[in-house]
């Protein structure tokens, strides 16, 4: 078992190293020079070329890509992600600050998507070919097809401007504002994110449920004279939920991509907005930190999953050892 974990860890490190090299190369290929960006040509007064060169040396951008990479990875393995080019703040500090708001938005969005999507999908399957089913199908297709930025703008217009029920943007009122204030700011962006995701969940939940409902063991259960509630609630639902877990998981990246857009529209100070601002400002340390954090998270989860799976099913461990 230990050997298995060590081997998986080693593979993760290699993958991470590969990702970091790729990232470094991609950043270099990006047009625009951060040092030039830091010395604004329209407000700078003096010898700009010298100032740009000074910046370049300070940031180590005058070194070869190889040297830059070795330096960066050396700091990275010690847990130092460097300093933001534009604000000079430690990258870890900036990212930790931004993680909370993003997690709050995505977490709430996911919960809303699950609470809405799965019951509606199951209901549609059970009332197949009725008005409920058609209604659910149409609404889920609408949710899938309309881009979330558009829904967001409509939402702001209706609930923020016309009805005045909810704030139009931001994560809190000036200075904080307490729990109720935070919830009021969260409702609209989280609901829009959640509903966009609920669309696919409805479709999958309906399909999974229909598949299970048509299977022989359910016919058997029914013919045994089990109560309808028990047949649906225990046997059908239980089996339908298993493939759904997969679908929910696969949609997580979509959720993240959606959060980036929603953060932008609602001026939500999360990681998505941070990453976009960093792209514009060519803030390489922030960008590297952001992508590496995502990569580490995914690899870590993969590792945990593999280990957990190996514990459940010894065949994986054995086949792995043979390979």
């Amino acid at each position: 078992m230990l050997a298995f974990i060590v081997r998986r860890l080693a593979i993760s490190v290699v993958v991470l190293a590969g990702i970091s090299v790729l990232l470094f190369v991609l950043l270099q290929l990006m047009p625009g020079d951060p040092a030039e960006m830091m010395v604004d040509p329209f407000s700078f007064s003096g010898d700009r070329a010298a100032a740009v060169q000074q910046r370049r040396e300070e940031l180590g951008l005058d070194q070869s890509m190889f040297v830059q990479y070795v330096r960066w990875i050396g700091e990275f393995v010690q847990g130092n992600l460097g300093f933001s080019y534009s604000t000079q703040r430690p990258v870890t500090e900036v990212m930790l600050e931004r993680f909370g708001p993003t997690a709050r938005l995505m977490g709430t969005g996911l919960v809303i998507a699950l609470l809405v999507g799965i019951p509606v999908g199951i209901l549609a399957a059970m009332r197949r070919n009725t008005a409920v089913d058609y209604g659910a199908t149409v609404l889920s297709l609408v949710a899938i097809s309309i881009p979330s930025f558009f829904v967001a703008l409509i939402g702001i217009y209706v609930f923020g401007l016309k009805l005045g029920w909810l704030p139009t943007a931001g994560i809190n009122s000036p200075g904080g504002g307490g729990f109720v204030d935070s919830v009021r700011h969260l409702v609209l962006p989280a609901a829009i994110l959640g509903l966009a995701l609920a669309g696919p969940y409805v479709r999958y939940a309906r399909a999974a449920m229909l598949e299970v409902l048509g299977q022989d063991f359910l016919t058997t259960a029914r013919s045994k004279g089990l109560a309808r509630r028990r047949v649906i609630g225990r046997h059908a639902l239980h089996n339908a939920l298993i493939p759904l877990v997969t679908v929910v998981a696969v949609q997580i990246p979509t959720l993240f991509a959606g959060a980036v857009i929603i953060e932008q529209i609602f001026a939500w100070p999360g990681m998505g907005r941070m990453a976009l601002d960093a792209v514009r400002a060519r803030d390489y340390p922030i960008l590297l930190g952001f992508v590496m954090a995502v990569a580490v998270l995914v690899l870590l989860c993969n590792l945990i999953a593999d280990v957990a799976y190996a514990i459940i099913d010894p065949r994986i461990r054995l086949s792995g050892a043979r390979a």
């Binding site: 604004d40 329209f42 700078f44 996911l110 702001i156 401007l161 943007a169 809190n172 998981a249 997580i252």
Partner: protein, 543 residues
């Protein structure tokens, strides 16, 4: 099969981790302050004001960006600044005078000013700060402003520790001694505003690379009416009334909030924000809002196209004139700006005395443009890029129209969208054809064109790299002459040259537009967009 299931379980776990994190992070634990009722814009004596870009901090030494400059007006203070009437106004300096030879500037400082920690503000602070500005080693973006100050070169090349020409003869007097006369020195001090730093605090920090010191992210001492308290989030900053401020203040706190102008306009409507910039196309809508006041002023800056003259592509003045004739600028103002602007034919468009009446007006005349191009032997195949960072409606539309109008007269013009980083790089590489940018304060003194057009500024603020000896000589004379009638005639000649040579293609002068909620009283619109918080000390809220 196994691999796929593994992955999905991993992703599921990732989802769970996020959920857990969301649960942990919960709502703000550190509300820290009395944000008032939920949904209420702010407390009784609080206002929220918009920043149209993400702020970095409070370092006045870095090349200025709008949001930082605005926040710095709350937190720091300066000797002078431009007023709403388009003049130089006193701040820390009560008065000033220039010697008849134009070489000695004397500033008389207020004696009733304390830093927010209670330390007195004196001429030593000014002396310290100006030495920091003049020293490129600090990372100062403004060393170039002090090239003619006595001893500035010695500081820059490291042979002196301080600029000999900056002097503090007593606690409340500051003197700038120049090698070459400059009667328009104040222009250098107001755009951007050169804020004064506390020597007793900043003087303790390492001089090398001072511009980037973390102190400027969370400064502990200030001099302005509202001093920095904390970053509520990365784009919201809280300021509190400076307890030592020289006048009584009308507010307890100010929040600055980075939101785009579109969002800010919506927030004005809901009362979530008290000050916002207004885009010209939104004027009619904002004017129709209840409880919102629109402020409008003639703009001091320009929206202009810039070419790298040293690249040679548009080096022939006839080609540049042709471009001016090819563009229907009056229609641009009408269509794109909804009439909120005007058309001018030189970079400097004020004050009145600096505007000779014999300037050529570049009205829309495509035939004349074709004629001039033919005369210059222009090759219609030459590609001409219109470089722009997209995202502002008025500029985006303007560029599309300009491209079509240039094609109309036989210039192979194409809009080239760039990101800001690429744009800066193309300027560094001297590789741009018609780059759009808006900036400036060109209405107080005609010497404001010097930074953009003099040979000595090539490689710095003169991004076009335009260099004309005749104009240079006139501009030198212009700042060396105290006699008003003489200056008038010098600038009449200078303006004529700029008008004919078209070193910079001025498209139009947009009006300065902003809106405030009726809660915020005492706001006075400064025509210079980046100086909007110049009179924050006079702000109050209506009860």
């Amino acid at each position: 099969m196994i691999g796929r299931r593994n992955r999905s379980i991993a992703a599921a776990l990732a989802g769970l981790a996020l959920l857990a994190a969301a649960a942990c992070s919960g709502p703000d634990e550190d509300t820290g302050s009395t944000g008032g009722e939920s949904g209420a814009p702010a407390g009784d004596r609080e206002v929220t004001v918009q920043l149209y870009q993400a702020p970095r901090g409070f370092s006045p030494l870095l090349a200025s960006i709008g949001p930082d400059h605005l926040m710095e007006q709350l937190h720091w203070d300066s000797l002078v600044s431009a007023t709403a009437d388009g003049e130089y106004g006193p701040r820390l300096a009560e008065s000033w005078e220039v010697s008849p030879d134009g070489k000695t500037w004397t500033f008389h400082l207020r004696d009733d000013v304390l830093w927010s920690d209670g330390e007195p503000f004196t001429s030593e602070d000014v002396l310290f700060t100006y030495n920091v500005y003049a020293n490129p080693a600090t990372g100062s973006a403004y060393a170039g402003k002090f090239g003619t100050v006595t001893g500035a070169a010695a500081l820059a090349d490291g042979t002196a520790d301080a600029v000999a020409g900056f002097q503090a003869p007593d606690e409340h007097t500051f003197v700038i001694q120049l090698d070459a006369p400059n009667v328009a020195l104040l222009d250098e001090l107001v755009q951007p505003i050169l804020f004064i730093l506390p020597q007793h605090v900043v003087g303790e920090l390492p001089l090398e690379g001072l511009a980037d010191n973390p102190f400027f992210r969370e400064p502990t001492v200030g001099l302005g009416p509202y001093v920095f308290q904390r970053w509520v989030t990365d784009d919201q900053v809280e300021f509190a009334a400076n307890p030592e401020y020289r006048d009584e203040l009308g507010l307890d706190r100010i929040f600055t909030q980075y939101v785009t102008t579109d969002v800010a306009t919506a927030q004005l409507e809901t009362g979530e924000i008290d000050f916002a910039q207004v885009a010209a196309p939104d004027v009619a809508r904002v004017e129709g809002l209840d409880g919102v006041t629109l402020h409008r002023a003639d703009g001091p800056g320009v929206l202009a196209l810039h070419t790298a003259i040293d690249s040679g592509k548009l080096a022939d003045p006839r080609v540049r004139q042709a471009i001016m004739y090819a563009i229907d600028r009056e229609s641009l103002v009408e269509e794109v700006l909804a009439g909120e602007g005007k058309v001018v034919d030189t970079l400097v468009h004020g004050p009145e005395w600096a505007m000779p009446d014999d300037l050529t007006h570049y009205g829309y005349d495509p035939d004349k443009a074709r004629e001039l191009l033919a005369e210059a032997g222009w090759d219609p195949a030459t590609p001409v890029r219109l470089e722009i960072v997209p995202g502002q409606r008025d500029r985006d539309t303007t560029m599309t129209i300009v491209a079509a109008q240039l094609q109309e007269v036989g210039i192979n013009a194409q809009v080239q969208p760039y990101e800001a980083a690429q744009l800066s790089e193309s300027i560094g590489n001297r590789d741009f054809d018609l780059l759009i940018s808006g900036y400036g304060l060109f209405t107080i003194d005609p010497a404001s064109m010097n930074a953009r057009l003099m040979c000595a500024q090539v490689g710095g603020a003169n991004i076009s790299a335009y260099c004309n000896e005749e104009l240079d000589a006139l501009l030198q004379q212009g700042i060396a002459t105290t006699d008003q009638a003489e200056r008038e005639s010098i600038y009449a000649q200078a303006q004529k040259i700029v008008n004919e040579e078209v070193p910079i293609f001025v498209l139009y002068v947009p009006n300065t537009l902003a809106a405030t909620s009726d809660r915020l009283q005492g706001f006075e619109l400064n025509p210079s967009v980046v100086d909007a918080f110049w009179n924050a000390a006079d702000w109050t809220v209506s009860s």
